[in-house]
Structures are given as structure tokens and as C-alpha cells.
């Protein structure tokens, strides 16, 4: 795994990522990493988006996570699809590793009422406590918990 200059662990796990989405509305390559939302039991893809204030989970996934009935904080989020209404909710998500350790996060995510886009890992409430690095040559995503 990756080390800091003084030899300490910088990341604890790594996974191969999908670097393009054939169905994306734009033609630009993006990074999709594997996550496992709590209670879903299966891996799904989420786009890494450090420019996004919050992470977004598709409503169908949130339903399987039994998040829809939990109390959240109503919020309107500005996205490239326009303003989207939904709720912020606190939940658990695992970023899955192929090698090394995965990381489990208790994070805040935005659950849209309606959403045709995919899942996103945003900075606020999630990536802000994750160290990560990307090897674009090998399509490897290195990650670990931030101290």
C-alpha cells in the first residue's frame, strides 16, 4: 500500500476502478469506484466527485438500505441535472478493496426524492475523511481512512 514520506501507511486498500461509463451523458472519462451500502449486500458503482458537496445515493438503493423511513434533513441540492429535492441522511457505506483493507464509513449522504443519475461519492460528509490516490495508468484507486 502507499506510504507517506516518513514511512507511515497512507492508504490501506486498493481497487480497480471503471474509468468510463458508456452510458454517460457526457463523453468525458470519470472514475467509478465500488461501494457497498449497508443492508444492500452487493457492490455497486459510485462516481468519485470531489467537487460535489454531498454524496448521492439512488433512491432505489436507499430504499433497500431502509433509509427512506428514517428521519433526515430536507435539502435542495444543485446538480448538473438541476435543483433536486431530497434529504440528507446518516448511514454506513463501505468502500470496497480488491487488495488490502476496505473502509467502512459512517457518512452523510443525500437521498434524492427522484433521481435519474447514478451514485456519487462527494467530499462533504464522506470523502473528507478518506485518503485516496489514483493510478490512471493501471486504473487503480488507493484509499484508506484519514487519521
Amino acid at each position: 500500500m502507499l506510504k507517506t514520506l516518513d514511512g507511515a501507511d497512507f492508504t490501506t486498500g486498493r481497487a480497480r476502478f471503471l474509468d468510463e461509463d458508456a452510458n454517460a451523458l457526457e463523453g468525458t472519462a470519470k472514475i467509478f469506484v465500488k461501494i457497498e451500502p449497508s443492508n444492500l449486500g452487493f457492490p455497486v458503482l459510485a462516481q468519485l466527485d470531489t467537487g460535489s458537496a454531498w454524496s448521492i445515493l439512488k433512491p432505489e438503493i436507499a430504499e433497500e438500505m431502509q433509509l427512506m423511513n428514517e428521519e433526515g434533513e430536507p435539502k435542495r441540492l444543485s446538480t448538473r441535472f438541476g435543483n433536486i429535492d431530497g434529504q440528507l441522511k446518516r448511514t454506513n457505506i463501505t468502500i470496497l478493496a480488491d487488495d488490502g483493507d476496505s473502509i467502512e464509513l459512517e457518512a452523510t449522504v443525500f437521498i434524492p426524492t427522484e433521481w435519474t443519475g447514478g451514485n456519487f461519492l462527494g467530499y462533504g460528509g464522506l470523502l473528507e475523511r478518506v485518503r485516496f490516490a489514483v493510478d490512471p495508468q493501471e486504473n487503480l484507486f488507493y484509499f484508506g481512512p484519514s487519521a
Binding site: A22, P43, E60, E64, R90, D98, S102, A107, T116, G125
Partner: protein
């Protein structure tokens, strides 16, 4: 710890956040009382002489008054109620300790935090919450905001997935044929496709290994 809504907080607000700046100033004033001239240094540090402190207070009040003009009726009513009294320290303390004021402080703080969250200023929203006195953190709406704005908690896990290179290749090659559908992939093969995630889960939940689930949008 309760005095974190300090100069830095206001310095970080953008020019377009004047309303937020003024309202946040109002909250800080109400929370901390006249003992602290936030935005201009804390008098608790005893750096300013009395004259300087009065000047700071005047400047602070000047910054709050525009909030009464541009803010909602609730905040306006608050200001009308306490601004005149704030000219006299004893009068302000009397108002701050009056019944119902604590609830109003909570509501103003709640609105300020929501405003900051609306402009995605998460760090500032956290600081505004952290500025509340400890005995007011139990308020239900503040508890909910603190929960939502809490920094993520991370820990490592032994859980692992497998290399999905072949599944990614399947998505590249076949996505156009499955638009709108949920697909379950494993080792580069399509195990199931369905119109909804629920339907797809019904197909795959009995499998020994866990396929990658993805909706082709």
C-alpha cells in the same frame, strides 16, 4: 470550545453571503452576549480598552442592523426586541435570560446553519453549531443538524471484493443494449437484468457469490 464562531468564520464567508454573515453575527451576539465582540476579536482576551470595546460593539451593531432590514420577519422581530437594550449591558443580559429567548436562539441558529448548508458551506455550518453553549446542544433540531453535519467516521474492514475488470468491460461493450435496466455482473457475464433493483435482487439474492449491480442509465 463554545467560542469557535470567531473572526475566522466571518472571514471565510464570501461577499455574496452578506445576509448569512449578518445573521451569523446576530446569532453569535445572542449566544455569547455583550461580553464578546465577535468579528473584531474577543473582549475576553482583554486586549481592548473600554473605549475600544464600545467602538467594537458599535461596529458590531452596525453590521447587525442591515440584517434586520434584509432578514425575515422572525429575525427582524428579534432585533427590534433586543437591539435597543443591547446599548446597556444589564438590559441585554436580562433579555438573553428571558423565557423563550433560548428557543429563539435555537431557531435563529437553525436558520443560519440551514442557510450555510444551502450554500454548501459545511465547515462554517459546523462551526456555527459548535459555537452553541453545551447546555443547548440537546435541542432536537440542533441534535439532528449535528448528526447530519458530523464528520464521517471511518474504520478499516476485512471485507473484500474481487477484481471487476471483466465486468467493467461488459459495461463498456453492452451498456447500449440495456439502457434503463439494472444488471448483475460477475466474471464478465450477465447474470440477470431487470427493470428495477428490487426485481434484480430477487434474482441474485440466492447466489453464492456477490455480483456487481449496476443500473445502465
Amino acid at each position: 470550545m463554545t467560542n469557535q464562531l470567531n473572526n475566522n468564520v466571518f472571514d471565510q464567508l464570501t461577499a455574496s453571503s452578506d445576509y448569512t454573515r449578518q445573521t451569523a453575527a446576530l446569532v453569535a451576539m445572542m449566544v455569547h452576549g455583550s461580553e464578546q465582540s465577535f468579528g473584531l476579536g474577543w473582549p475576553g482576551q482583554r486586549q481592548a480598552e473600554n473605549g475600544e470595546r464600545k467602538k467594537n460593539m458599535s461596529l458590531t451593531l452596525a453590521s447587525i442592523r442591515p440584517a434586520t432590514e434584509s432578514g425575515g420577519s422572525f429575525i427582524e422581530s428579534q432585533c427590534k426586541g433586543w437591539l435597543p437594550a443591547s446599548k446597556h449591558r444589564a438590559g441585554q443580559k436580562q433579555i438573553l435570560s428571558a423565557p423563550g429567548v433560548a428557543t429563539e436562539i435555537m431557531e435563529i441558529t437553525y436558520r443560519v446553519v440551514l442557510s450555510l448548508m444551502g450554500s454548501e458551506q459545511v465547515t462554517l455550518a459546523r462551526k456555527a453549531l459548535a459555537a452553541l453553549p453545551l447546555d443547548r446542544l440537546g435541542d432536537p433540531m440542533i441534535v439532528r443538524l449535528r448528526k447530519m453535519l458530523a464528520v464521517p467516521v471511518t474504520k478499516t474492514s476485512q471485507k473484500r471484493d474481487t477484481d471487476r475488470t471483466l465486468d467493467y468491460q461488459w459495461i463498456r461493450d453492452h451498456a447500449q443494449d440495456y439502457r434503463g435496466q439494472w444488471v448483475a455482473l460477475d466474471k464478465g457475464e450477465l447474470l440477470a437484468a431487470a427493470a428495477s433493483l428490487r426485481e434484480l435482487l430477487d434474482h441474485v439474492k440466492h447466489l453464492k457469490h456477490r455480483p456487481l449491480l449496476h443500473q445502465i442509465s
